[in-house]
């Protein structure tokens, strides 16, 4: 289980996250929605160990990992842009986190489910955007992380590509049976993938019953912020 306990983070005195707490069970996909700059990526980076929280704790599988560096947390991270290693092939990217350990049937299953089997010898620059995203996901999954964090991995794709990618992503995420945090702006993605939903508003995370409710709160907060800045 992933547990975020009272996490606070400020940048240059400006609070980004305030007393954020939530739990994600193994096999659960928690969708988090929020406006740009609301702290979604900051929250993921704190869970991954890429940023230190000012206060609060992170627990993973019953172990407190707040002070562990990212390389010791075993957290899979899929950033918004695929961030593939361009000096390596698709195979080199996917197997990167295994550190020479032999591959098992799990990785074979991931490659098949994501349709990457025939692309292993290709270079990242030879792939379309959709395939780059699949490689990025397969790379994060291959070392069997204890938790998976996805930061808008499907943003920038049109509906047709999303329509093909979403079911594949969902099947693969469910295969791993670990806590998944999925950040998105897209109600469709949230609806298709999410088991539980949260919304970040003014640095605080609120749990909501559905994707619809999450986007309703987001819309209201956008109108309020818009009114403040005169939109």
């Amino acid at each position: 289980m992933l547990e975020v306990q009272g996490v606070c983070k400020s940048f240059d005195g400006r609070p980004i996250l305030q007393d954020v707490s939530f739990k994600v069970q193994p096999g659960e996909i928690r969708v988090i929605v929020g406006l740009n700059g609301s702290g979604k990526t900051t929250l993921l980076k704190i869970i991954a160990g890429l940023l230190r929280p000012d206060r609060g704790k992170i627990w993973l599988g019953g172990q407190e990992v707040t002070h562990l560096p990212p390389e010791e947390r075993r957290v899979g991270y899929v950033p918004q842009h695929p961030a593939l290693f361009h000096h390596l092939t698709v195979e080199g990217n996917v197997f990167y986190g295994l550190k020479g350990k032999p591959s098992d049937s799990f990785i074979g299953k991931i490659l098949d489910m994501l349709g990457l089997r025939d692309f292993l010898s290709r270079r990242p620059e030879e792939l379309s955007g959709g395939y780059k995203s699949r490689v990025s996901l397969a790379r994060a999954l291959a070392p069997r992380p204890r938790c998976l964090l996805l930061d808008e991995p499907l943003s920038g794709f049109d509906l047709a590509i999303k329509g093909r990618l979403l079911p594949q992503f969902k099947r693969v995420l469910e295969l791993l049976q670990v806590p998944v945090v999925f950040v998105t702006h897209d109600p469709w993605e949230a609806e298709e993938l999410g088991h539980s939903f949260s919304v970040i508003v003014q640095g605080q995370v609120w749990e909501v019953p559905s994707a619809e409710a999450a986007f309703e709160i987001l819309k209201e907060s956008f109108c309020e912020e818009g009114a403040v800045v005169g939109i």
Binding site: K45, A48, G49, L50, P69, P70, E71, R73, R74, V75, G76, Y77, P79, Q80, H81, A83, L84, F85, H86, H87, Y96, G97, K99, S136, R139, A140, P143, P145
Partner: protein
């Protein structure tokens, strides 16, 4: 057709200040000067020393630039990075005679006397160090520019996949910016080839021992052998052109 202001100003100035002097050097070449220079063993010794010393200086520059790049990427707020950043830029502004003097004091007879009568000064090693001081900032700049253009997420992902900062730097960051590494090496080598004042002061200008090509040209001018200076200068020009062409070659092979 009406020409714009840039064409009117840029092209004549470029032609006058860059192309014209180099063209005049080539036009002053004489067969006699070429024959005399190419049969002078000291010329070839200076070429030999310049080649190897510049290579050594460029390699040393690259090694230090790689160290600096690590701090640039992972510890940009550390005191050592801030100091190194300032010191990196210094050799660009510092008169080369001052740099040579500093090296002479630091590695000369008084501090390094146990190594020999003149310490490290006036030895081929001194030539490498003097060239390094001039060329290192260019290697560091090229590498950090490459690292800045690299997506930071690449490093973040490598860290979550189990890499320590050092592993992520060597296994992901540096291979991702190998083009910048190559540029840094070539720029450092090119700068080392052209260094004169620091080399002359710290390395000396001992024909056949510490005389580099730039010093050889200077010595020939001083001795009144203009035709030999022109021949050595033209040789140096072709060499420099070949080196800087490597930067274009890099773009061609998409290194």
């Amino acid at each position: 057709m009406k020409k714009n202001i840039m064409e009117v100003v840029y092209i004549p100035l470029f032609a006058l200040l860059v192309v014209f002097p180099l063209l005049m050097l080539i036009l002053r070449l004489e067969p006699k000067g070429l024959a005399q220079t190419f049969s002078d063993p000291f010329f070839w010794k200076s070429v030999y020393l310049t080649f190897w010393a510049a290579l050594g200086a460029a390699l040393l520059s690259l090694i230090l630039a790689i160290g600096f790049g690590y701090y640039h990427l992972f510890k940009p707020r550390s005191a050592i990075y801030k100091l190194a950043f300032l010191m990196n830029e210094l050799p660009l502004a510092l008169p080369h005679t001052v740099a040579g003097l500093a090296l002479l004091i630091a590695f000369g007879r008084r501090t390094m006397g146990f190594l020999g009568e003149t310490g490290l000064a006036f030895t081929p090693t001194a030539v490498v160090i003097a060239m390094f001081l001039a060329s290192y900032p260019l290697a560091a700049r090229a590498l950090t520019a490459g690292l800045d253009s690299m997506a930071k997420e690449v490093i973040e992902v490598a860290r979550t996949l189990g890499d320590t900062p050092v592993e992520a730097y060597f296994k992901v960051a540096l291979p991702s910016v190998r083009g910048a590494l190559f540029s840094g090496f070539v720029l450092a080598y090119a700068r080392a080839l052209s260094e004169f004042a620091t080399v002359a002061l710290f390395g000396g200008n001992v024909a056949g021992r510490t005389q580099v090509l730039a010093s050889y040209v200077f010595s020939q001018i001083e001795a009144g052998h203009l035709e030999m200076a022109v021949a050595a200068g033209a040789f140096s020009l072709v060499w420099s052109l070949a080196v800087v062409s490597l930067l274009s070659f890099r773009r061609l092979i998409r290194c």
